[in-house]
Symmetry: C2
Subunit: 481 residues, 2 copies
Amino acid sequence: MALNQTQLLSKMVIGDGHGESSPYFDGWKAYDENPFHPTHNPNGVIQMGLAENQLTSDLVEDWILRNPEASICTPEGIYDFRAIANFQDYHGLPEFRNAVAKFMARTRGNRVTFDPDRIVMSGGATGAHEVTTFCLADPGDAFLVPIPYYPGFDRDLRWRTGVQLIPVMCDSSNNFKLTKQALEEAYKKGKEDNTRVKGLLITNPSNPLGTVMDRNTLRMVVSFINEKRIHLVCDEIYAATVFSHPGFISIAEILEEDTDIEGDRNLVHIVYSLSKDMGFPGFRVGIIYSYNDAVVHCARKMSSFGLVSTQTQHLLASMLNDDEFVERFLAESAKRVGQRFRVFTGGLAKLGIKCLQSNAGLFVWMDLRHLVKKPTLESEMELWKVIIHEVKINVSPGSSFHCTEPGWFRVCYANMDDMAVQIALQRIRTFVVQNKDVMVPNKKHCWHSNLRLSLKTRRFDEVMMSPHSPIPQSPLVKATI
Amino acid sequence: MALNQTQLLSKMVIGDGHGESSPYFDGWKAYDENPFHPTHNPNGVIQMGLAENQLTSDLVEDWILRNPEASICTPEGIYDFRAIANFQDYHGLPEFRNAVAKFMARTRGNRVTFDPDRIVMSGGATGAHEVTTFCLADPGDAFLVPIPYYPGFDRDLRWRTGVQLIPVMCDSSNNFKLTKQALEEAYKKGKEDNTRVKGLLITNPSNPLGTVMDRNTLRMVVSFINEKRIHLVCDEIYAATVFSHPGFISIAEILEEDTDIEGDRNLVHIVYSLSKDMGFPGFRVGIIYSYNDAVVHCARKMSSFGLVSTQTQHLLASMLNDDEFVERFLAESAKRVGQRFRVFTGGLAKLGIKCLQSNAGLFVWMDLRHLVKKPTLESEMELWKVIIHEVKINVSPGSSFHCTEPGWFRVCYANMDDMAVQIALQRIRTFVVQNKDVMVPNKKHCWHSNLRLSLKTRRFDEVMMSPHSPIPQSPLVKATI
């Protein structure tokens, strides 16, 4: 950029605080340039970097057709058009807030209740995190965030707020579990750097780990933030993706039920969204639920910058208020996510690839530590480049989640149909077969040095997927499918 | 707020930078507490503080019923549900961007074109202004803004960005026209305060004046910002509300057609919205159109905080792409706004109340200078309190628009039906009749000191509007209706 421009624009335009230069987003670009399609582009990149839930759209479509009055664009619902199109109160439609509060309770097993008057809208979880940060911290202040963490947090919490993130170390030695010691160390580091630590951000269920926090850890977290008098922001946007035991425990449950914990509710704030649990990322429904009146008040004013379209509020108010539908949807959704998880991780296991044990999220934390040449992040990136450019799957390297242990990758599995999953597994199999000498888990070894060449000479997609030739399925392929 | 809380939260929560304590918003609250309804609450406050366009909903409703495939919630459109609900690319749906670019050209007489690749989404014009400011200025920098200006700008441009606004003086001596001299003085003031002036914000058509800028003024503005090397942000959200000559001239037209103006396009940015021109404030469609590549790029990243719901994008893509509909809608909309303007200002004129001559917006700039006790803002507020609490109309005092000349009020007239307008005029008439001794325009005089009492003893609504008694219309009433 010319010096002239540099002087004219803000530092944000000039800088790279957005964090889009991360391989997390680079992978998306690689996918965008050559996206897989079963017939139009069978050799394209399969997008496994997107934590999207496409497994339940049919349930929603069915509901919509049975409830035409829920939309302002049908003969049955048009009578509400005028009022809805014109409604711009930042409190949101009362029926929307009520329905969201009820849905939040249900996705937490109805063991807790949420007050509709504390429901604040925002532009997705992205907007919710930024608004919450603007309310809790001033520029230069810091939040503690356990690693690995969602790459978007660098944008959401830091970029326009000027707030810093201090990583809290978690690693595979205890399955990436958050410990008191790690929290203390991160807090101490902030103090040593003369940074005002204002809060702790956790994701539960975890993105990218897919794990849920146990009750003891949550209690420890609540004790910790009370002891330090800092805020706790709980990102619970994957609440309804938990598909097996142990069940999900919301921070709300700890606050409501654990009478033996002395805690100040004013310090606790939940970020929620319908992007993952309902599979509506396009609808941009973010929710801030704060137990702090001043934060509710201020966040609501800030919500003017990212309100939910009333067309969408109106539709979801009806949908989420239909108890019978919600009950069936949540049960079926968890079932389908679990099935997909078992198919995918089962397929990987047969290839000798392990994942961190998990039971939530729309992804797995895949362990390829035995495939990185050296235990460095550079080697992880080399492997990632092979995976995206040669294996043609977009997965996200651990380093983009600030993981310090090379060789972990987040792989999303719910944003595609069954066939795409099988093709992805086939591609991984081919990769594994061609590198079988190194595929001994936990044996530190390099991937085959002429992998690039060998893949180029035998493009498995061309053999396996060409519509012009019969697919010569090997016994191995059959075994996996 | 307890000291404890003060330390825990951000300065934004503690401060009042949002500007919600303005009478502009206070008036809304007074309305909210006692809203007028023709049958349920005929003595309630009539909301004339909301620049909303409710005159054309029937045209849109009609289109929606004739185009069921445009919605993802109809049997005809459900097939797109999955793809639309899941679409989260911050570039927006290509068909949406194309349709908006086309619509923007049409609302500017098709004398200019807009590049769909420069269309950036945001959460309403509110979000658009904040994003643009974040891109153009750093905390402490300043924007020049001609007064009177929309009260929301204090929130949108200043609050979270830390940017300052320097007023550019405009007054009734030349019908509030923006002059080079006033711009120079404001710029000089910024320099004297050691503030880095980064841009100029104009609204055209003007909110709150309802006037359009002439070609010479626009040329002067372009020369000025180029001379100073500062940005120009043009808020053109009322483009399609112009109902009579002179027609609207977009800044885009000056850039495209005026070859004799040496100008750097990189300095010019347009904020647009569908809240006013289409009457969809609830849908939260804000648009940033920048001629500067770096700003487009950065603003698009920032749009993640306030994307338009894809449900809404999808519907509007079809609607705005229907040339025949748009043509008819725009013509009919301008016609209806013009009719309403004439009815309302005609009614006021018969009562001896003048407004600034205007031909756009959804409001008039009403001149009550002869009714303020003293030429002070305190007196203006006294009069405003009488208007809202006794006359029971929520209008917005000039001071909330940072107008320095006491006695001007913005009155919105397009957010209600014909009957509500007549009731508002009746209320004003009663007020005028009871204060007829002071109703000689331009004669500095006070309003009747026992007005409060007199209104209480004879509540005109109760007489005029009670469903239990026939309405005793006076000849004056008939003459006005």
